[in-house]
């Protein structure tokens, strides 16, 4: 099975900060590929390149085998990549429904008088949110009044609703309680079954192991390789994330004093 999106040897520099030093990654239909890594490893930077927010300093992005440079988030969306960002990409002062449709508003009417089809938008928003287990007070409730978990769920519901061939979730579970986490994980499972590739970013190894098919670990801008499901366990992943042997070395150096 060929990859839907393949990233080859991606580098990214911010001024004199080297955030990514050559990372390769691919995602196939119907799989959940987990991207793991400690804080600051470069996970968010990496998927921002994948969704067209940043341009890579070096390296290639291939969509279904053809090199496809993304110039803007719209390009990535057009290529079927939907992203739920870590910083949520939600605007607190706007209503849930407006946030849900932001950038892809449904329209009604003929050209100069095309209007935002609010009734359709509201209806679908409420339905989709109910599917995700959130009962809204109303679709015009401001996102600012939602809890972190609810906001996260709006973002996921939005990405799921708009279909797409690849769904990227950047730490979707980090602000969630256990029940909402369960919900997100089972949503990932549901989405994957529809043949969509899911990129699931987290630094919680347990969440990753619960749904992942493959696991890629980033450490300080570099990839430490990709493992298949079943070939690694929680402890091994945790070790790779935290810098494995190096930390062991450290523990022995502290060992005498503690």
């Amino acid at each position: 099975m060929t990859a839907i999106v393949e990233m080859r040897n991606i580098q990214k520099h911010f001024g004199h900060v080297i955030a990514l030093a050559g990372v390769s990654f691919d995602i196939r239909p119907g799989e959940c590929h987990c991207l793991l890594g400690d804080n600051g490893a470069g996970k968010s930077t990496f998927i921002k390149i994948m969704s067209g927010v940043y341009k890579p300093s070096d390296g290639e992005v291939l969509v279904e085998g053809t090199p496809t440079p993304f110039h803007s988030p719209r390009d990535a969306m057009a290529a079927g990549i939907a992203t739920v960002y870590q910083d949520l990409a939600m605007i607190p002062l706007m209503s849930v429904s407006r946030n849900f449709w932001m950038g892809r508003e449904p329209e009604r009417g003929i050209w100069p008088f095309k209007t935002f089809d609010t009734s359709k938008a509201d209806e679908i928003t409420v339905t989709e949110m109910r599917k995700m287990g959130i009962n809204l007070r109303g679709p015009d409730q401001a996102v600012g009044t939602l809890s972190g978990g609810e906001r996260q769920t709006v973002a996921i519901a939005r990405a799921v609703y708009f279909g797409a061939k690849v769904l990227i979730l950047d730490e979707p579970t980090s602000a969630l309680g256990v029940r909402q986490t369960a919900n997100v994980l089972s949503t990932i499972d549901r989405v994957r079954k529809q043949g969509i590739g899911v990129v699931f970013i987290t630094h919680n190894v347990r969440h990753a192991l619960a749904v992942g098919d493959r696991f890629t670990v980033l450490n300080r801008g570099q990839t430490l390789g990709t493992a298949e499901r079943g070939t690694v366990d929680a402890a091994a992943l945790q070790d790779m994330m935290a810098g494995g042997q190096e930390l062991a070395l450290l523990e022995s150096s502290l060992g005498g004093t503690i």
């Binding site: 719209r74 960002y85 605007i91 607190p92 706007m94 407006r98 978990g149």
Partner: protein, 373 residues
């Protein structure tokens, strides 16, 4: 698994909030209360001064309509997260440009008007482009244009006409097909019928005796209504309106989901320039002359209307209806103080106090909407 899903909708960390309080809360609430208060106030202090007779109503309506025209532009721009200090200079500039072209360079009036609109909207785009490209605050960029445009206006009018006031546009307007769109009046038939029927007062003396005191609705008022309706429709009913909110609320987030933030902002700068041009053109057509000092400090007045109307100075929140109410408050207070025979210098004191109270009240309302932060 259904159990898990239903459970997710409850979060034991959220306290319940009274739904009644929520029902009352909307961005223009402050504007609505303010308008009612102001009308009550002047009904008491100036009720018998003719302020609420047909002619008086028309008087403050026209003034409010003026504020409304620029407030709509400023409002949409502010919601998109920027503001424009060059509005006032733009008003002076476009009037003088139009007058020089038509009166001194002999260009037909309709062509002068169109050329002026095109050029001013272009300058609006330059403003926007500079803000986007340099990443500078719009305060600085538009402050520069406040000076540049005013300087060019004075220099141009003195250079071409050796005067800072340029008359003679009135004669050019006669017979022009475009001029009535800005300087004409509508519903004249209706008003003369109302006058005959005794619905409104008529002139009792002089050479127009028998004619109604108001002979029609000036196009300025029509423009104000059209712009408010258009602005409100654009903002609340269209896709683009959603993009305006998004660009002002969080440009980065908006860009990530594919909203063309730069385009939205530049278009709003252009719209603001367009509104300034409408203001200037209506004024030039009505009075038949342009002057280099027109529009002085109008940028602040537009911003004040918008802010009184509940918009957030930092963008992402507000309402065109609110801005229109802000303009009505501004106009009624300004003219009402004349009707009430108050010392006119106290108008400014009054205005400052209204601004402060309105904004504090709006902040309180907004905190409730966005969940007390």
């Amino acid at each position: 698994m259904t159990d898990v899903i239903n459970g997710a909708s409850k979060d034991e960390r959220i306290k319940p909030v009274s739904p009644l309080r929520r029902a009352l809360i909307r961005p223009e609430l402050g504007g609505i209360c303010g308008t009612i208060l102001v009308f009550l106030l002047f009904a008491i202090v100036a009720g018998d001064s003719g302020m609420f007779a047909a002619e008086g109503v028309m008087n403050w309506t026209v003034v409010s309509a003026q504020f409304m025209v620029i407030a709509v532009g400023a409002c949409l721009l502010m919601i998109a997260g920027e503001f424009d200090l060059s509005t006032g200079s733009m008003i002076g500039f476009s009037g003088v440009m139009m007058a020089i072209l038509s009166v001194h360079l002999g260009v037909p009036l309709w062509l002068s008007i169109i050329a002026t609109f095109v050029f001013c909207v272009f300058i609006g785009a330059v403003n926007g482009w500079l803000v986007i490209r340099t990443g500078l605050p719009s305060f600085i960029v538009t402050l520069a244009f406040l000076y540049i445009l005013r300087g060019l206006t004075i220099w141009g009018s003195v250079y071409f006409t050796r005067q800072t006031i340029i008359g003679g546009v009135g004669e050019k307007a006669a017979g022009d097909w475009l001029a009535p769109l800005f300087g004409g009046k509508i519903l004249t038939g209706l008003f003369s019928w109302m006058g005959e029927a005794g619905w409104i007062a008529t002139f009792t003396r002089g050479n127009r005796a028998g004619q109604p005191v108001i002979d029609g609705v000036p196009m300025l008022v029509v423009w104000a209504i059209v712009l408010v309706v258009f602005g409100h429709w654009l903002l609340t009913r269209t896709k683009f309106g959603n993009w305006i909110f998004a660009s002002g609320g969080d440009p980065l987030a908006a860009r990530y989901v594919g909203v063309p933030v730069n385009r939205v902002k530049i278009l709003m700068f252009m719209f603001s320039a367009f509104c300034a041009c409408v203001f200037a053109t209506c004024q030039v057509m009505e009075f038949g002359s342009a002057a280099a000092d027109r529009g002085l400090l109008k940028e602040f007045e537009a911003i004040i209307c918008v802010v009184i109307g509940g918009a957030l100075l930092t963008g992402g929140y507000g309402s065109v209806i609110g801005a229109a109410l802000g303009a009505i408050i501004f106009g009624v207070v300004q003219q009402g103080l004349f009707f009430a025979n108050a010392e006119s210098s106290l108008f400014r004191v009054f205005l400052g106090v209204i601004l402060l109270t309105a904004v504090i009240m709006n902040t309180y309302i907004r905190r409730i909407i966005t969940g007390e932060r």
